[in-house]
């Protein structure tokens, strides 16, 4: 197998590749933020009676909330802002498929590249 000689990349090509990576990073990190896909999926379970008892706080807890500057009214949205763990099976299956597909591609494509590396390193001597 002849030794692989990579093409020389022009300066413009290098700048273009840097731009591609920068854009990809920003899209990957910024887009979920912009589309509201990032962050916790929580919602407030509102209560009519806003008292420490109704909020499930015993006297010790209530005294600490007050020490931290909260009243039952201001603590309500903190205490009642909850996760609702309902397993959305289609989303879970999509997530699993995306992850498995990604890793399968990664290992298979890496292995193909790795065989070339090993061949050139060890078989051409």
């Amino acid at each position: 197998m002849p030794r692989y000689t990579p093409p020389e990349q022009s300066k413009a090509g290098q700048i273009f590749d840097i731009a591609v990576v920068v854009v990809a990073i920003f899209v990957a990190l910024w887009l979920p933020l912009k589309m509201g896909l990032a962050g916790a999926a929580k919602s407030i379970d509102a209560l009519d009676a806003k008292t420490w008892e109704a909020l499930g706080q015993n006297p010790t807890m209530a005294s600490i909330w007050e020490k931290l500057g909260y009243t039952p009214e201001t603590a309500h949205d903190v205490i009642q802002n909850r996760f609702h763990y309902v397993i959305d099976w289609p989303t879970l299956i999509i997530m699993a498929a995306v992850l498995i597909g990604y890793f399968v591609f990664l290992f298979r494509a890496s292995d193909r590249e790795y065989r070339d590396v090993i061949k050139e390193k060890f078989d051409d001597k």
Binding site: A28, L31, A41, F83, I87
Partner: protein, 467 residues
């Protein structure tokens, strides 16, 4: 014999300039613990939000097991493949170029987003302390990121000496807080049995415990960053396992003390949302001295972490340039300071931009996602390493015990963590994975043509078995 990879190349007056070998085990400890310790000052407590106070404790220990596996596996591979880029260099020699490219991106994203989280924490802490209306965190964030980037630009020894000092102060503050609140008695200052009751210990049940894994990662995320210093330590085979294991023990102790004090001082609903659990704990003791100590320690922990993250992310990026996975322009070493200065400067605006557009738990989640993808790779990587070069075929600096148990434990805990991220942050995980997939396609079908094939394998090892 442990052999290190070829160092980087910038030619000055005909001489080849490489990264400088000046670090010892204490610097490795400072790099690892410095990056991670901020997790005790913020972030871990969001696991209480996802599952309750008891869930935060359960994941503290179980995720501790995950990271003990990471440290064991990493010590074996890194003490054998001692090259800048850490896990990147491991992937390149064991799995293949595309995996190496991805691992480097995991590292860069995990550390850059961790740096962003640190800067946001620092800015928010100062703003909260100042209590001045209209004061925003932006100027503090910008100053933090720019000054630390400059420090990293100027040299690795000074960077990690600074890290050692500020990490030690932050760590000692946790110990001081712990012993100041009479941890052996309940009722005087600590009120664990009144704050964590049978009714509220696991408010979401066991699914909350699983969900809490996501932020449980934050107790220890980044300890594997010790390997990034592989080309700059004087004795990689000794310093890296020693520094990493010592760091892990340090962190397990700090995590347990932090949970105990915080869960005994504030209700889980508040603990789950505060940005500064240890500073709040200091305030709730009623001691101005402790309050101020924990305020300063929070700032120092954030600084140490951001400092180490800049160091690690830049080295991973530098390694990509050196192997031409990215334009080789990034592989330059500063002729005077011997640092990967172009990589440091390139990542600076990216960190700044995200520090201004993301909030703290979003930045933390970005970092955790990249971390968990990397740990999944590590569990498979060690299996392949042992299969391609069984014990006895190459000299290892350290051989981890009980193989393959740590790898299996690590893999299983990664699967649980993916499910935990799905519970509340699933869309973010899918979006990130799609990004990694698309950039992998770009690399495999386009960028890889610029890479020299055989030159990527720099270890003087025999041919791997099965090839």
């Amino acid at each position: 014999m442990t052999v290190t990879a070829e160092s980087a190349g910038t030619a000055v007056n005909g001489d080849r300039v490489s990264l400088l070998r000046v670090l010892g085990p204490a610097h490795v400890w400072a790099l690892g613990v410095g990056i991670v310790l901020v997790g005790e000052f913020t972030g871990w407590n969001f696991s209480a939000d996802k599952g309750g106070a008891l869930a935060a404790l359960i994941v503290c220990w179980i995720v501790g097991l995950l990271y003990t596996s990471v440290a064991m596996i990493d010590s074996e591979v890194t003490s054998t493949v001692a090259a800048a880029g850490g896990q990147y260099a491991q992937a390149k020699h064991i799995v293949g170029p595309l995996m190496a490219f991805n691992v480097a991106l995991f590292l860069v994203f995990a550390y850059t987003m961790l740096e962003v989280s640190d800067a946001i924490l620092l800015g928010d802490t100062i703003v909260a302390k100042a209590g001045v209306e209209g004061l925003t965190h932006n100027s503090f964030i910008a100053a933090t990121i720019v000054v630390l980037a400059w420090l990293n630009y100027r040299g690795v020894l000074m960077t990690l000496n600074v890290n050692f000092v500020i990490t030690a102060i932050a760590y000692i503050s946790i110990v001081i807080l712990f012993f100041s609140v009479s941890p052996w008695t309940q009722g005087a200052v600590l009120k664990l049995n009144e704050l964590v009751t049978p009714n509220n210990a696991l408010p979401y049940g066991w699914i909350g415990v699983i969900a809490a894994f996501q932020f449980g990662i934050w107790y220890y995320l980044g300890i594997e960053g010790t390997t990034q210093a592989a080309e700059e330590v004087r004795s990689p085979a000794r310093s890296l396992p020693y520094g990493t294991m010592a760091g892990m023990i340090t962190l397990l102790i700090a995590a347990a003390m932090t949970w105990y004090v915080c869960a005994s001082l504030m209700p889980w609903e508040y603990l789950g949302i505060t940005y500064y659990p240890l500073w709040d704990a200091g305030k709730l003791t009623g001691s101005p001295l402790l309050e101020n100590l924990l305020f300063v320690a929070t700032l120092l922990a954030a600084l140490a972490s951001a400092n180490g993250c800049i160091n690690d992310a830049a080295r991973a990026w530098f390694s990509l340039g050196r192997d031409r996975y990215l334009p080789s322009w990034f592989s330059a070493v500063h002729p005077k300071y011997r640092t990967p200065y172009r990589s440091i400067l390139f990542l600076l605006p990216i960190a700044l931009a995200f520090a201004f557009i993301a909030d703290l738990n979003q930045a933390i989640t970005f970092s955790i996602l990249s971390g968990v993808l990397q740990y999944t790779f590590m569990s498979i990587n060690i299996m392949m390493f042992r299969k391609k070069w069984p014990l006895g075929t190459i000299r290892r600096g350290y051989t981890h015990p009980f193989h393959p148990l740590p790898a299996i434990v690590l893999f299983c805990l990664c699967v649980v963590t993916y499910f935990a991220i799905f519970l509340g942050f699933g869309s973010q995980l899918i979006a990130m994975t799609i990004f990694y997939f698309l950039i992998s396609v770009w690399f495999h079908f386009y960028r890889y043509k610029f890479v020299r094939r055989g030159d990527q394998f720099t270890m003087p090892w025999p041919k791997p078995q099965g090839y």
